[in-house]
């Protein structure tokens, strides 16, 4: 470092310029597909295969996608699939939180024989490709009548959401000083009260983070919905692909519009709970 820089002053050299260019290049590379999809979603059927950036944009595709009742263009009612997705994923996250929060607390606070193995087993659900279990699941779901049901989807999505919730929240509970709950015990509260009154409010940022991530992973899941649902409980990820036409015409512009609509709910959720994602709430609880 040859000389001091004034605040706000930038060092100007060939290296930094190249680095900046590389970053810009990376952004273009990774954002271009999204830009392409947005452009595609605004094109008319006649323009959909053109590669020109100059065209007359229209919002018609969005209304076509949302008003398609699964009769005219595709075999799936897109807007009801959207609602089903919200119910499936919301339900799956809710169940995961209800069961996963106490599980994460127990796993974070108490070590017992095999507790690490148990946690690892739970995480390993995320390693295995879903295709590995999908065939037996398909057979079982058909047998016990869970095929193409919301309950069945919420259940199978636990494979996606539960490990996330438990693993993320376990580390939050581990970071929480045990003294706090012990103080509550000595204040005269039961263990359950100490958990609800002291520990739970302090991991709220963790709950928000875990819920958001779990929701996104569940939302993006494709394989389970593809195999385990038909028309009643099918999700938006499957519904999008229907616009590519199974044998009929492929509507690229409608597919793009559907994909954009499908990307909105996780985005809105993320923006809504972002303020709960701040950590450091427990600062000041115990000495630094």
């Amino acid at each position: 470092m040859a000389r001091e820089l004034m605040p706000g002053q930038k060092r100007f050299s060939v290296g930094t310029v190249l680095a900046d260019l590389a970053i810009v290049g990376w952004f273009v590379f990774s954002l271009f597909p999204i830009l392409w999809m947005v452009l595609l979603a605004l094109k008319t059927p006649a323009e959909q295969t053109s590669t020109y950036f100059v065209f007359s944009p229209t919002l018609e595709n969005f209304s076509t996608v949302l008003s398609d009742r699964g009769t005219a263009l595709t075999s799936v009612d897109f807007s009801s699939a959207l609602i089903t997705s919200v119910i499936n994923c919301g339900g799956a996250v809710l169940v995961s939180l209800l069961i996963g929060i106490p599980a994460a607390y127990a796993a974070g606070r108490w070590q017992y024989r095999g507790s690490d193995d148990l946690m690892f087993t739970m995480l390993s659900f995320r390693f295995a490709p879903e295709l590995m279990v999908i065939v037996p699941l398909f057979v079982i779901y058909n047998q016990i009548g869970l095929f193409d049901t919301t309950a069945g989807m919420i259940w199978v999505l636990q494979l996606v959401t539960m490990p996330l919730v438990v693993w993320i929240l376990r580390s939050y509970f581990q970071d929480l000083p045990e003294d706090l709950e012990q103080a509550a015990l000595l204040d005269g509260y039961t263990r359950r009260k100490a958990f609800l009154m002291v520990a739970l409010p302090l991991v709220r940022p963790g709950i928000a983070a875990a819920a958001l991530l779990a929701f996104i992973f569940a939302w993006n899941n494709y394989v389970f919905a593809l195999i385990l649902t038909d028309s009643r409980a099918t999700t938006v990820t499957v519904a999008i692909t229907k616009f590519l036409g199974g044998g009929g015409q492929a509507y690229y512009n409608l597919t793009a519009a559907a994909a954009i609509i499908a990307a909105l709910p996780p985005l809105i959720l993320a923006l809504t709970i972002q303020r709960y994602l701040v950590r450091g709430l427990s600062f000041g609880a115990v000495k630094a």
């Binding site: 003294d179 012990q182 000595l186 204040d187 005269g188 709430l281 000041g284 609880a285 115990v286």
Partner: protein
């Protein structure tokens, strides 16, 4: 209010033993200090009494009731944690109200709660902080709030874990004086844990010294100070540490290697010629004297190697021979200069005799060098 009795307490964490066969009997209303270095098992002792750790063996009785297997919230004890453990999402007022709202330390109306909280925060000087959150407080203020959460409620026993350790020196001595004057403290049985010998001596009705999970000595501050059972206790109390000089018995005399210290074997001390001993003298008990020595005084001659001025006091390192030196603390107006030859005098009852050691282990005290004092075993 209540007595505490701990018998045969044993607690292990995995393979490490935190406490081994610990017996404590604390009387009703007593201020009992547990003193020991870090890792001695002090906090484990408190948490065992509070029921926050599961003990492996032994019993805990509070007010004559066996609570060994009782839940913490059934024991009616209050504890100030070393880490403060204030609820970060609650204000100071809510923190202090927490034990009053649980319903297990008595029923309090909103007015009663407010009255109690006002009383305790006034005493502790934190009444202006009621609406603040713990993160907005200094360490000293947090410590007071943690203490307040204990004092705000009646309890059989108060458990205080190093409540002054994170304060700066000035605040610590001020708080030490305050603690002693708190009415609640003097009425309620208190188990106080510290590694600071000055706190222990100043506050304790009695002191228990812990070392590596075992009880070394229990006694009043005076007993522990004047008759430490072994070199560990002797070294634990006092700063700078007690001087320990290796010595040997010969011809009815105890003398150190260089011959700088010569003592008559006191009557009642049963040692044969050739026995190895250690002579212990506290730095504060050594006087710089130029007066004629009498019989009840041990005299040593040496040269001042180092003089460190510590305000009102001066710490001198005095070489007694080629390889023996002692630390002397004396008031600065009578201090000697570096290089000066001095005569040191210690009253014989302040000369402690310990058994000889092998490679730095702690050894038992055999008695003092006094010719009058009855020898203690």
């Amino acid at each position: 209010m209540g007595a505490l009795e701990v018998r045969g307490l044993r607690k292990t964490y995995g393979k490490t033993t935190a406490l081994e066969n610990l017996d404590l009997a604390v009387e009703n209303g007593e201020f009992f200090v547990v003193l020991g270095p870090s890792g001695a098992g002090k906090t484990t002792t408190l948490k065992s009494v509070a029921g926050l750790v599961e003990i492996d063996k032994g019993t805990v009785e509070i007010s004559g009731r066996d609570v060994t297997s009782a839940e913490p919230y059934h024991r009616n004890v209050a504890m100030a944690f070393e880490s403060y453990a204030l609820y970060p999402q609650k204000t100071v007022f809510e923190n202090l109200a927490s034990p009053l709202k649980s319903g297990r330390s008595g029923k309090y109306s909103a007015d009663d709660q407010r009255r109690r909280i006002t009383a305790v925060t006034t005493t502790l000087g934190i009444s202006h902080l009621l609406n603040r959150f713990p993160r907005e407080l200094s360490n000293g203020q947090r410590q007071r709030v943690a203490l307040g959460r204990v004092l705000v409620r009646p309890a059989d026993i108060y458990l205080l874990d190093e409540p002054l350790s994170h304060l700066d020196a000035k605040l610590r001595s001020a708080m030490r004086a305050e603690l002693k004057q708190l009415g609640e403290m003097s009425d309620t049985t208190t188990l106080y844990v510290t590694h600071d010998y000055q706190e222990a001596l100043a506050l304790g009705d009695r002191i228990a010294v812990l070392r590596e999970g075992r009880l070394v000595q229990i006694g009043t501050p005076e007993e522990v100070w004047k008759r430490p059972v072994d070199t560990f206790v002797a070294k634990a109390l006092g700063q700078p540490e007690i001087n320990l000089l290796p010595a040997e018995v010969e011809h009815g005399q105890i003398h150190t290697a260089g011959g700088a210290v010569q003592l008559a074997v006191p009557p009642g001390l049963d040692v044969v010629a050739g026995t190895r001993l250690r002579v212990g003298v506290r730095p504060r008990d050594i006087e710089l004297s130029r007066t004629q020595a009498d019989d009840a005084v041990l005299c040593m001659y040496g040269t001042v190697r180092l003089a460190e001025r510590l305000g009102r006091l001066v710490e001198l390192t005095v070489a007694l021979g080629d390889d023996t030196s002692v630390i002397v603390v004396t008031s600065s107006d009578r201090a000697a200069h570096e290089g000066e030859a001095v005569e040191l005098a210690v009253r014989l009852e302040h000369v402690h005799l310990f058994a000889g050691d092998d490679a730095g282990e702690e050894t038992a005290r055999l008695g003092s060098a006094s010719t009058k004092e009855r020898q203690q075993g």
